[in-house]
Amino acid sequence: MDDKKPKFQIRDGSRNLLLLGLVSIVVALMTTGVSLAVYHNSGDIYLDRSRPGFLPDEEEVEDDNDDSDEEYDFAKSGDLTGESLGEYLEKIGAEIEEVDEYEKPFDAAALSDEKLGIKPEEKTE
């Protein structure tokens, strides 16, 4: 009866540790893969400007900091007066002006043959 070897030996322990390490790596790779797939498919990747090559310019960062100082919210409660509506129009006008800074923001001409330099020269005879 005493001749029976114990079921678990020290060698099994190190093997289990190795297995645990491998399983952990596989799980980490899988969850990272799923996260990246969600990040990509949800479109968040296209809004992420912390990606290399997409970082904001210094000027933009400064502009953003300036904006945060003077944030306006139209009050949901209180009296509705001509004065409050005048302020509303003034502030929304300023926002619209900033939108208008981009003239034709997604102008089709940016992808035209001319812009990409793939328009064959017209033959003159």
């Binding site: 479109g43 296209y46 809004l47 400007r49 090559g53 997409f54 904001p56 933009e60 944030e71 306006y72 919210d73 139209f74 009050a75 949901k76 409660s77 209180g78 509705l80 007066t81 001509g82 509506l85 005048g86 509303y88 129009l89 502030k91 929304i92 006008g93 926002e95 619209i96 900033e98 939108v99 208008d100 981009y102 034709k104 923001p105 997604f106 102008d107 089709a108 940016a110 992808l111 035209s112 043959d113 812009k115 990409l116 330099g117 793939i118 328009k119 064959p120």
Partner: protein, 168 residues
């Protein structure tokens, strides 16, 4: 007689299928050569456009959010509270929300197509590259329409508020 009808139906069906299968864009040999030779330069241009678009999207998206959440919606809440709300204000807000949602989803779709275009090998597949470029142009056109619609809705809001101010 039946056979004659059947054969004519078959011919019409074949012609219809051919129309569907035919490529929409006719690409000249010269253009394909230019795509092949200028492939790297074109890709650089497309990457620049991608970066610029990301900047514009984030900026405009932020502005649209601000206009909706800090102006249009609070004003409508107040108008309802004061029993001054009318269908035009509500309709304008709903249209703005819909247009903003379309702007966001169209941008994702446009960028996915643009990303696929940049990943294509224009030296090996200039024809497929150009066909894809045409599709990306369509997506960009949709983006242009989305921004124009949102701009019009902002103007409409300003007109409505100006009218309301005159009444008060």
């Amino acid at each position: 007689m039946k056979k004659k009808y059947l054969s004519s139906y078959f011919i019409i069906l074949m012609l219809f299928c051919q129309v569907l299968v035919l490529p929409v864009v006719a690409i000249s040999e010269e253009k394909l050569d230019l795509i092949e030779t200028r492939c790297d330069a074109i890709k650089d241009d497309l990457k620049k456009i991608q970066r610029e678009d990301a900047k514009v999207r984030v900026h405009l998206g932020g502005k649209y959010d601000a206009i909706l959440n800090r102006f249009i919606m609070p004003l409508n809440v107040k108008l309802v509270e004061k029993n001054l709300s009318n269908a035009d204000f509500v309709e304008n807000q709903n249209n703005f929300v819909d247009a903003k949602t379309a702007f966001s989803s169209d941008y994702i779709s446009y960028q996915q197509q643009l990303e696929e275009l940049v990943a294509m090998d224009c030296k090996k597949e200039p024809e497929e590259f150009y066909e894809k470029l045409v599709k990306v142009r369509q997506k960009r056109k949709t983006m242009d329409q989305d921004t124009m619609l949102l701009r019009n809705l902002m103007s409409k809001n300003v007109r409505l508020v100006t009218k309301l101010k005159e009444k008060i």
